[in-house]
């Protein structure tokens, strides 16, 4: 389980995260929502040790992340950031193989190659596995990066706005893949989302941030609620139910 306690982060006088505490459920998809600057991405970066906090601790499986060796933590927790643009000319297969780096460093073993094959299969990349990633479309690139994370085979998978720059089809595809990772592979997924409808449709839990604080956290159906959303986003949102799924209309 991932647990954060009293996390504080500030840039100068600007407090980005203010005493944030939270436990994330194992094997579930949890979405972080909130307006720009609410601190979602910062929280995700701190959990995944890309950013260091000013105060508080992050526990992964009852152990402080600072006590993990880099390699060991990379076998438990992976992060995919929106800004990850690789400028290297690598093939899809080479990129995915680097997902095994925490386990075998330079020499991949038989089981590493099996995992790479599984990841490529899972993300449906078999027919383009030998293409260079700089020649792929945005959607294919995103799938290649996700395959790398799948190959990394970590208990916890963190994604920072994975739907950015993706069209509707690829967004839905991405979310369905994450769902399968949680349901079939038992992974714990924590994801920063902007579109409330994707959060409503595909996540088990929602954590809402506002001004650096967690204002709500609960099962999805308790958060997708006109009053709660109005409080979080400061926007009047109408909710209607279609096929037993709640759709938020925020266009008024």
């Amino acid at each position: 389980m991932i647990e954060v306690k009293d996390i504080t982060k500030q840039y100068g006088d600007n407090v980005v995260l203010d005493n944030v505490g939270m436990q994330f459920h194992k094997g579930k998809v949890t979405s972080l929502i909130g307006s720009n600057g609410a601190g979602k991405s910062t929280l995700l970066s701190i959990i995944s040790r890309l950013l260091s906090q000013d105060g508080g601790i992050v526990m992964v499986d009852e152990k402080n992340v600072t006590e993990y060796k880099n390699k060991m933590l990379a076998q438990r927790l992976s992060i995919l950031k929106q800004s990850n643009h690789i400028r290297l000319k690598l093939t899809v297969r080479e990129l995915v193989s680097f997902g095994r780096f925490p386990y075998s460093q330079d020499k991949l073993t038989e089981s590493d190659y099996n995992m790479v094959d599984r990841a490529i299969q899972f993300m449906d990349l078999k027919d383009i596995e030998n293409s260079y990633i700089d020649e792929l479309s945005g959607g294919q690139k995103q799938r290649a990066y996700m395959a790398m994370v799948v190959a990394q085979d970590t208990e916890y998978v963190l994604l920072d706005e994975p739907l950015n720059n993706l069209d509707m089809k690829h967004s839905v595809q991405t979310m369905k893949t994450l769902r399968r990772l949680a349901d079939e592979w038992g992974k714990t997924i924590i994801i920063v989302l902007h579109d409330i409808n994707f959060a409503s449709h595909y996540s088990d839990y929602i954590v809402a941030l506002k001004d650096g604080k967690i204002v709500y956290h609960d099962e999805t159906e308790n958060i997708i609620n006109e009053n709660v959303l109005k409080d979080v986003f400061g926007l009047k949102i109408t909710i209607c139910e279609i096929d037993k799924k709640r759709i938020c209309n925020y266009f008024n």
Binding site: N70, A74, S78, I86, R87, K89, L90, T91, F98, D106
Partner: protein
């Protein structure tokens, strides 16, 4: 397979390089055991060819590491102030300890290149919007600043011409007993090869590296060490060789990709081949005189580089 082909080409060129020069030596002389000519080969020709190969490998491999560390294809010892720093190191050595030996000279150049590389990397990391062209421009300016400080002191001491002469890449004065420092590139190249995969990961950026559990800063430091050791030892023995670290890695990358585990041997071999060709050309064009290799590399290199830019744009 590709590496094998390149190795054969390299061996052939190295062989040719041994028999090109002002003194006429043929293969038959060796078979006939002409003592005088064999001595000439072992004192002058073999050191020269060895130095060329090592400088070619070293400079192009350094280029690759610098490009990985900055995630920028246009960064190289030439475009990041590294060569200027080595020059400054030599100058400081001349000013303060003119009587000390080559080891001190080497240490002085190494320390300066190392510090300058750290400073350059710090500047690059501080740049928020890393435009592809912006980073090498900053590097050129950075090198310009270091260069102007060196020139200022050189002018004060009336040694401008001397300093320019050291820096002009030239292999013609390489003789047995005076070039051995260049073998210091070997450990650096060896370390780079061992760390090839890690340098590929570094090239994916800090976030990716941390995600994969790599100790980012430690690898960067190893990279800086290897680059500084290589560049300073090459500059001391042969002077500055511009463009090499830029062109060779880029051409290899365009054709074979960036998976260093696979491409590093190709970069190393191509670097040596390119330098040998430039050197042989420089020795043949105005035979029996020589054009300094810095000139031939600059001419051939800049033509290739321009073509590369045009090709990339397409």
């Amino acid at each position: 397979m590709r590496a094998l082909v390149l190795t054969i080409i390299l061996l052939f060129l190295a062989f040719v390089s041994l028999f090109v020069g002002a003194a006429d030596i043929t293969f038959a002389d060796i078979i006939n055991w002409d003592i005088e000519k064999i001595e000439l080969i072992s004192i002058s020709r073999i050191p020269r060819t060895a130095a060329l190969v090592l400088a070619g490998v070293g400079m192009s491999v350094s280029g690759v590491i610098m490009q990985q560390m900055t995630q920028n294809k246009f960064v190289s010892p030439t475009t990041a102030g590294t060569l200027d720093a080595a020059k400054m190191g030599l100058l400081i050595f001349i000013i303060f300890t003119p009587t000390a030996g080559t080891t001190v000279k080497m240490i002085s150049a190494f320390v300066f290149t190392f510090l300058a590389s750290i400073l350059f990397l710090t500047i690059v990391r501080k740049i928020k919007h890393r435009n592809v062209i912006f980073v090498p421009l900053v590097g050129l300016m950075f090198g310009g600043i270091i260069g102007s400080v060196s020139t200022f002191f050189a002018v004060q001491l009336n040694i401008v011409q001397d300093t320019n002469a050291w820096m002009m890449g030239d292999f013609s004065s390489i003789l047995q007993g005076r070039y051995e420092l260049i073998y210091l590139t070997l450990p650096a190249i060896f370390i780079t090869y061992l760390y090839a995969n890690k340098f590929t990961v570094i090239g994916m950026g800090e976030d990716f590296s941390k995600n994969l559990g790599l100790n980012y800063n430690a690898i960067i430091n190893i990279g800086l060490f290897c680059v500084s050791l290589t560049v300073s030892s090459v500059v001391i023995t042969a002077g500055s060789i511009p463009f090499l670290g830029l062109i060779v890695p880029n051409v290899v990358s365009m054709i074979f990709g960036d998976n260093l585990k696979k491409t590093l041997p190709l970069v190393a071999l191509s670097g040596a081949i390119f330098l040998l060709i430039c050197d042989i050309a420089g020795r043949v064009v105005i035979y029996p005189y020589e054009i300094p290799i810095g000139v031939t590399v600059s001419i051939i290199g800049s033509i290739i580089f321009l073509l590369l830019l045009l090709w990339k744009k397409r």
